[in-house]
């Protein structure tokens, strides 16, 4: 292997070993966007202050996410002898004083906050972390360093196998690298599943210079945060993956396009790139091998459609991120009309693992057609909103019951969205579908990039459809009338249905729009109506109910429901009147009532007086003003 790289990795391992054998307690605080939202910065500061003030023999470090996003801040405590590591959750700043006293000063466990034993033996009170249902069946390869290494420390990465795959790739020619990638069977992780090796080969075969790599980190699907977890947790994995791709596809420069909503991921990727430059792993004549490769972070500015690869390219080299008309494909004419390869974060991040351990090892984890592992996040009406990495194969039901902790309040799963607003919507009856690509393709939808949203009977299907199509309408680039006009029309029709003005022809109207939008230029327009299309199949009764019976079974659609005083004697009615933002909760001659004309159906009153108020089907059969005026004649 390249001597410079061997030296770099050797030095990194020495530093890592010195840290590991310091004889001091090691406190690894998960510091990412999810944990910061739950106070991890305060926890970190409190731990550092407490350790300094009491001169404790402990080192406080930051690390990436264990995936237990709903129980942050997480802190892993490694004993001074290095023989035992315990993962703790919900270590909020107010608990730090007691936490430090018990786990560091007294050297005991704190079972009430413990999630499990990471290293060492289970105790009577704390099981092994590996036995936690959330961890069982997970195969953490991409997430292997998360929880252990500092994402802002390149030596930590190098000491734990980092840049070894790149070192191996340096000894291979481009054809051999691509063959290894093809043998692995790695499919694009952005949702398409197209073999990454073939894409790299397209780029390598292009006859123009320079060639560019782009990493699509514009993870815009609401409810998906797998790429963020990876960038914030182990950014060098992506740098190394792109270096390997540069060798395989003979690329000169790369861009990592990150949405602006991920400032910490942007900072960590920038730091990783700067550190890689400083070690001679990026730039000209990398490690003396003659390889030239520059890598940049490109910060987005809020445009979902830039997740479409040609929209992303336009966003970098032009002004507006409007998807281009294909062909030419990016591999022929992409960034600045030069050959370009666009892959998802997770796709690039797998390359170091494939090179380090070989295609056979990498693909051996699953019997499914799709190879390797996939990261997923779970949100919506579930108990656990976390991030996992599993081999392809388990069912959605396993994901829900085991990894998302089941539905909140033990309710039934009414339905789910497998991966983003374009992916579609399925009934809870379909929970036995596997988390692989084919079952969804067969239904005219797709699995998506990994953010699964579950909902129960408190969700209205029509409201969800309106929300997702309105999102697509907002995010349409405006090129195709089918898309920007079609999505606008679909939203108008759905708003009218929600307002109580549904017409029998509306399902036909929506089906016409479904047919029309597929003629749009890019995936955005083509898949905007997927949610409506699939829900018309899966939840047809509910659509008909809204349109014909003017009834919303979930009690959501504002034109089909109203708030009513149920009990004049219930507690909280005064408070309900006080909280109402429109003065709709009124009292006349001692009798409470809701002025329906003022009521905006926000439900604050019912929070104050759950027994005093109720949501009932709207009594007046006349459509609301909104219904009468929406969407024209």
């Amino acid at each position: 292997m390249n001597v410079e790289l061997v030296n770099l990795r050797g030095a990194a391992r020495e530093k890592w070993a010195a840290e590991m054998n310091s004889g001091r307690v090691r406190l690894n605080v998960t510091l990412d966007t999810s944990s910061i939202a739950r106070g991890a910065e305060d926890t970190l500061a409190a731990l550092r202050n407490g350790v300094a003030a009491n001169k404790l023999a402990a080192d406080v470090n930051i690390t990436g996410s264990w995936g237990f996003c709903w129980m942050e801040p997480c802190v892993a405590v490694r004993s001074s002898a290095g023989t035992k590591t315990v993962l703790y959750a919900n270590v909020t700043a107010d608990r730090v004083e007691e936490f430090l006293d018990r786990v560091v000063v007294q050297g005991q466990d704190m079972p009430e906050l413990a999630l499990g034993i990471v290293e060492g033996n289970a105790t009577a009170e704390i099981p092994l972390l590996a036995d936690h249902p959330f961890m069982k069946g997970q195969v953490r390869r991409l997430m292997a360093n998360l929880g252990f290494t500092d994402p802002e420390n390149i030596d930590h990465y190098m000491a734990n196998g980092g840049y070894e795959g790149f070192g191996k790739a340096l000894e291979m020619d481009a054809e051999a690298i691509i063959k290894e990638m093809l043998d692995s069977g790695l499919g694009g992780r952005g949702g398409g599943g197209f073999p990454a090796g073939r894409k790299w080969d397209f780029l390598r075969s292009a006859n123009a210079d320079p060639r560019y790599l782009i990493c699509n980190a514009d993870e815009g699907d609401p409810g998906a945060w797998v790429n963020r977890v990876l960038m914030e947790g182990d950014p060098h994995l992506i740098v190394e993956g792109m270096l390997i791709a540069a060798l395989g596809a003979k690329a000169r420069a790369g861009y990592i396009y990150i949405r602006y909503e991920y400032p910490l991921a942007i900072d960590r990727m920038r730091k990783a790139i700067a550190d890689a430059y400083a070690k001679g792993l990026l730039g000209e004549n990398i490690l003396g091998t003659g390889l030239d490769f520059d890598l940049y972070v490109f910060k987005g500015a809020g445009a979902y459609v830039c997740g479409e690869e040609t929209g992303l390219i336009n966003s970098i080299d032009s002004y507006r991120g409007m998807p281009r008309i294909k062909p030419p494909f990016p591999a022929q004419a992409g960034l600045w009309n030069k050959p370009t390869n666009v892959n998802n974060v997770e796709s690039y991040a797998n390359a170091p693992l494939i090179m380090r351990n070989g295609a056979a090892w990498w693909s051996g984890v699953s019997d499914e057609k799709e190879k390797g592992t996939k990261m997923f996040t779970f949100s919506g009406s579930v108990n656990w909103q976390g991030c996992i990495e599993i081999p392809f194969g388990p069912t959605v039901r396993t994901a829900l019951d085991q990894y998302a902790g089941g539905m909140k309040g033990g309710k039934a799963c009414k339905g789910f969205q497998p991966g983003g607003p374009l992916s579609g919507m399925l009934n809870g009856r379909e929970l036995d579908l596997t988390l692989t690509l084919d079952p969804y393709r067969g239904k005219g939808m797709f699995l998506g990039s990994g953010g699964i949203v579950f909902f129960d009977d408190s969700a209205c299907v029509i409201d969800m459809c309106k929300f997702f199509v309105a999102f697509c309408e907002d995010e349409s680039c405006g090129r195709c009338t089918t898309c920007h006009g079609g999505s606008q029309r679909a939203v108008e029709v759905m708003r009218r249905i929600q307002a109580g003005g549904g017409r029998e022809a509306d399902i036909d109207n929506l089906e016409k729009l479904i047919q029309t939008l597929v003629w749009s230029n890019c995936l955005h327009g083509q898949f905007t109506m997927t949610t409506v299309k699939t829900s018309l199949k899966e939840f047809r009764d509910e659509w008909v109910e809204h349109i014909v019976d003017k009834r919303c079974r979930a009690g959501v659609c504002e034109g089909l429901i109203q708030y009513r005083v149920r009990s004049q004697t219930a507690s909280g009615l005064e408070e309900a009147a006080a909280i109402c933002p429109t003065g709709a909760v009124q009292q006349e001659r001692g009798q409470w009532f809701i002025d329906d004309g003022l009521c905006i159906r926000c439900g604050a009153c019912k929070e104050q007086s759950p027994d005093g108020l109720e949501v009932v089907p709207r009594l007046a059969a006349t459509p609301t003003l909104a219904a009468a005026t929406a969407a024209g004649g």
């Binding site: 939202a37 709903w70 815009g220 609401p222 602006y260 490109f298 949100s379 604050a604």
Partner: protein, 158 residues
């Protein structure tokens, strides 16, 4: 908010950027990070520096939701529009906050003290329903809590 920058200040600020190198967005980000928004003179300075037209630069400004052409309000509420927040009553929270503040989504008060706009999901879905108050997550809201927060923001400073 700092005083209007001079044309020279703006030119100096964007002097590092070059034409045809993908520098439009980085230049816009730098201007917004410095001044909080992208003014008309800033658009002209960027166009001049990148050897292009103000129309094309403005085309980029208007395409992306993060770029603003006016200074932000003192207190900006970004309402999370994601599905997890919506399933937890986020849309009712939006209605209630807008009614309390008497603002449309994307609007701000006449005295520029407070405004409310759409924010996009960044995957802190365990905190749903949430808003960001000047960038800080305020999670696990109820409609009542959101109304009280909005009332405090509206009433504050009067």
């Amino acid at each position: 908010m700092s005083a209007e920058p001079s044309a020279q200040e703006l030119r100096d600020l964007v002097a590092e950027f070059e034409p045809n190198k993908g520098h439009v967005m980085p230049a816009l980000h730098k201007v917004q990070e410095t001044y909080g928004y992208i003014s008309r003179p800033a658009i002209e300075a960027i166009a001049r520096q990148l050897n292009t037209t103000p129309a094309l630069v403005y085309g980029a400004v208007s395409f992306y939701s993060d770029f603003r052409t006016h200074p932000p309000a003192q207190t900006e509420i970004a309402w999370c529009s994601g599905p997890a927040c919506r399933l937890a009553g986020g849309d009712r929270i939006r209605e209630a906050m807008q009614a309390t503040l008497e603002l449309p989504l994307g609007g701000e008060s006449d005295d520029h003290r407070y405004g409310i706009h759409v924010g996009q999901c960044n995957g802190t879905c365990s905190e749903a329903p949430q808003v960001w108050l000047n960038g800080q997550v305020v999670g696990n809201l109820t409609v009542s809590k959101a109304i009280e927060m909005a009332r405090e923001i509206r009433g504050g400073g009067e």
